[in-house]
Symmetry: D2
Subunit: 254 residues, 4 copies
């Protein structure tokens, strides 16, 4: 039609080739969302597992995602530097990922939250950041895991203090100016909690990746046989340390 | 942390001030999605009303959206040229809108599709296009409505032919090379269908906008009173014609 | 060759259609350049006329430039909103303009500075800014002319004070906190200078545009005849006032 | 002033950190420029040395340029991946480089072209391309050198044929469909020219880089002493081969 010329106002937003693309999504206003849905404090396992479920849908849908990392209300999806998804069009990648994640969040809600009713549909923002080499990409991943660690250590202390009878204000004051060591010490001395015994998913977040797993598959004959098939697996390792990358040398290669 | 420098790789994506922003979303692979969910042909009213519901959530959430237009598996959200949402950061705007839309689609599915089970979470892409003046913005809106009209006229003929016993291939051949007039004529002569009698939502799509509506509100005293409040209203007007814009002179001003 | 794939790293930088493009160039380190070349203070007519000459080369070279405005060490080139120069590729436009301007500056130097030797080749930066409508574009042009006025009024006072025997420090202190009126008054009362008598090129900068001018042209027969031909003309009008735009209604249309 | 808001229309164009930036400039319409200035064919040493001179000015001005490569009417400037020049603002970098180059071209013209008068000021375009790793950056540099080689071999054959009495059309036909080997053979068999004896600057272009060179410096006492100082040096090496990079391991590090 004579109106089609308006399509020329769409500008090209292709991303630089040869760099890793990280699509990070983050829940919009989850301070309110978590409180309206009575998320457990400081961590709600149901919420984290729901997030991981949604993320695994993203991995299954988009081949170019080589690994994903989630914590709190956020998830980072790493696309291989050779990724050609949507010709590397930035908006296409971020919106396809974030919308699938958001719709999955509602779709799978009941599977994790059972009788807790979802009161309104959540939204997420997403952005794409280019990382040109493995070193800076690893630093990105470390950044998010450090963030998880710091928040979780703080929140664990905070809610432990509150549960022990302190007011939120008192708890905050007690923690003000403390370092990691102080917080570990506080948990151990005052409450007998060894921080390292807290589930790794809370302390380190979740790493989702493709791996080969054994699976029983039913043959046409009805006989069950074991097969090695690719599947998304979730681990809660410390990937700030070199050891992780020595053990997983090809993880970021796609 | 020492890793925070990675945030510097996030580049500024703010959009030009003073231009209208159109965020258009479109269902990913809805050819498959509509067929797996047995959408009615050529139009499924439940689907269109669900789309409109999701879009109205977007309008309610984001003040800067002055009007929205939907048809088929797509919706266009027009943000006022003064919009300051997310400081006009492109990725923030598109991802917040598209993720709310997608999660709403699942959230409200049952309200429109009842016993028809949602089999998997749908995704949408989104893009933002800048339009610098009213003329080209109106042409954009006309473009989408013409697209709706052309597709709907074709699909109406196609499925009418198929229902009458033709094979899809025969129907396609019958329509090949025909103009609008021919198709109107075909519907009328062969099937007694006056195309203009088909519901306007199918022929013209849906325009969603803010308006003042009368509403009965319950006072504290228990007494019901009538109040004029702003609400999202849906119309199916022809906005290709000047008449629409003469009647709605301030629609795009925000 | 097998190396050609590196061309894929060149990203598209086309600018939005339908908006005016302003390419503003500005001398790099002209504080030093003007002092090393003993530019007259506060204004050097030779320098301004050289700038205008270079700018007129740009207009002659690039049709899409509808008007240009210069003052101090800067020039703004306005490209029509329909401009298709280099398919609106941003880097192409800015670099072609700025490099022609810079090479012209050296090329024509002697014509304006005569025996004053050019000691080193000057550089300019350039940027392109999109302006979506006439109002904001006019405000841009007013912004540059107000800037010219403010700087020139200040510099005129400053150098008049210095010439009268004040030290630069004393002159600065005398002017500190004064408004436009105070400065006009100072010039008039203390030095008998009516600011409005200062050449318009200093007070208002230079507007370059295409116009039809009468020119004597020699025919093949040798006879001279008058012809109306398009040429770049330079004026020093006040275009902050509406009057200018009423008199030049089509100036920005290209 | 109240007009200053127009500055908000300037958008951020900072380039990705951590990647090499290549600014390639290329003469505009040098087909015409070289012919109007009677450039020697197939190569004009004066022109190439003038280009190199201009490029060395760029290196001297901008620390972040680690190496430059020139051939024909083009030059590529490689900025280190840590370059912070103009906060990596793309337009600032490209326009400052290209305008300095263009003004230098006129400034130094006479030094190389002597009595050959410069008839008009030349322009250059410039673009910036990001290269994320050494491999692709080396491929970029090889791409330009291969381009130099292919054009020069062709042009050498073409003009040798023309000088030998062939018409341009005949020369073109003679070369049509020939490979490198054929062209080397043609030069050698028919004209006794060993292509490798042709000056390296023509065959391989020019690499400009910083190096430490010995220089005689006059002391205050009047005595001349040898000093090692950094200076831009020009070589015509083959940097497609690994050998070059083994010998110059830190060249691209800045
Ligand atoms: N109780 C509880 N709260 C959580 C859990 N995971 C995340 N949250 C909450 C804590 C924070 O208030 C919020 C995430 O912080 P953000 O910085 O993303 O802020 P928020 O989403 O409110 O705002 P935003 O729209 O992202 O700027 O979600 C959880 O497992 N349990
Ligand atoms: N049966 C039925 N199909 C519909 C209805 N609305 C949309 N569709 C189908 C028709 C098209 O196959 C599809 C929309 O076309 P698109 O061009 O958006 O293609 P699709 O979403 O498959 O691919 P995409 O990911 O957008 O490139 O959705 C409806 O009301 N009823
Ligand atoms: N004496 C004299 N100086 C002038 C004349 N026109 C411009 N200038 C000087 C005054 C300023 O120091 C300088 C222009 O100011 P800018 O803000 O452009 O600064 P500059 O070019 O030094 O730095 P930049 O590289 O643009 O950030 O040029 C003139 O006609 N006479
Ligand atoms: N005779 C002669 N010509 C040369 C020499 N170096 C370059 N040229 C000419 C050959 C080509 O016609 C031209 C460079 O080719 P380009 O592809 O850059 O084309 P041109 O600059 O004409 O157009 P452009 O504005 O870059 O698209 O310059 C030389 O040393 N001698
Ligand atoms: O959202 P914050 O405050 O955690 O930090 P951010 O995500 O970097 O900020 P923004 O969402 O505004 O990009
Ligand atoms: O998706 P299409 O084919 O209707 O057309 P488009 O949306 O303009 O194409 P794309 O989704 O690739 O931008
Ligand atoms: O150069 P200035 O300081 O007059 O102001 P600007 O040109 O807006 O700054 P920049 O050259 O850094 O864009
Ligand atoms: O100028 P060309 O044709 O040698 O090739 P290019 O430089 O890649 O093309 P453009 O100057 O249009 O970017
Ligand atoms: Mg955020
Ligand atoms: Mg959040
Ligand atoms: Mg968060
Ligand atoms: Mg599409
Ligand atoms: Mg679709
Ligand atoms: Mg569609
Ligand atoms: Mg500046
Ligand atoms: Mg300056
Ligand atoms: Mg200036
Ligand atoms: Mg080119
Ligand atoms: Mg050229
Ligand atoms: Mg060239």
């Amino acid at each position: 039609s004579k109106y089609e010329y308006v399509k020329k106002f769409e500008l090209d937003d292709r991303l630089l080739p040869g760099v890793w693309l990280v699509c990070r999504i983050d829940g919009r206003g989850f301070h309110k969302f978590t409180s309206e849905h009575a998320f457990r404090k400081p961590n709600d396992l149901r919420a984290l597992e729901l997030m991981n479920k949604c993320a695994s849908r993203v991995l299954e849908e988009f081949d170019d995602v080589v690994v994903a990392y989630g914590q709190s209300d956020e998830f980072s999806f790493v696309l291989s530097k050779e990724a050609a998804l949507f010709k590397r069009r930035s908006a296409k990648i971020s919106t396809a990922i974030v919308s699938l994640f958001a719709s999955s969040y509602v779709f799978y809600w009941k599977e994790y939250f059972h009788e807790e009713v979802l009161r309104y549909p959540p939204a997420f923002d997403a952005r794409i950041v280019c990382y040109p080499n493995i070193e800076v990409l690893r630093d990105y991943l470390s950044w998010r895991q450090v963030d998880c660690h710091i928040n979780n250590l703080y929140n664990t202390c905070f809610w432990t203090l509150v549960e022990s009878g302190k007011s939120p204000k008192e708890a905050e004051e007690r923690l003000c100016g403390t370092f990691s060591d102080d917080k570990n010490e506080l948990l151990f001395s005052d409450f007998g909690i060894n921080y390292n015994d807290i589930p790794a998913i809370f302390r380190r977040g979740s790493i989702l990746r493709w791996d080969l797993v054994d699976k029983m598959v039913k043959r046409a004959s009805g006989k069950e046989v074991q097969r090695v098939i690719p599947a998304v697996v979730t681990v809660h390792d410390d990937w700030i340390k070199d050891a992780f990358w020595i053990e997983n040398p090809r993880l970021l290669e796609g």
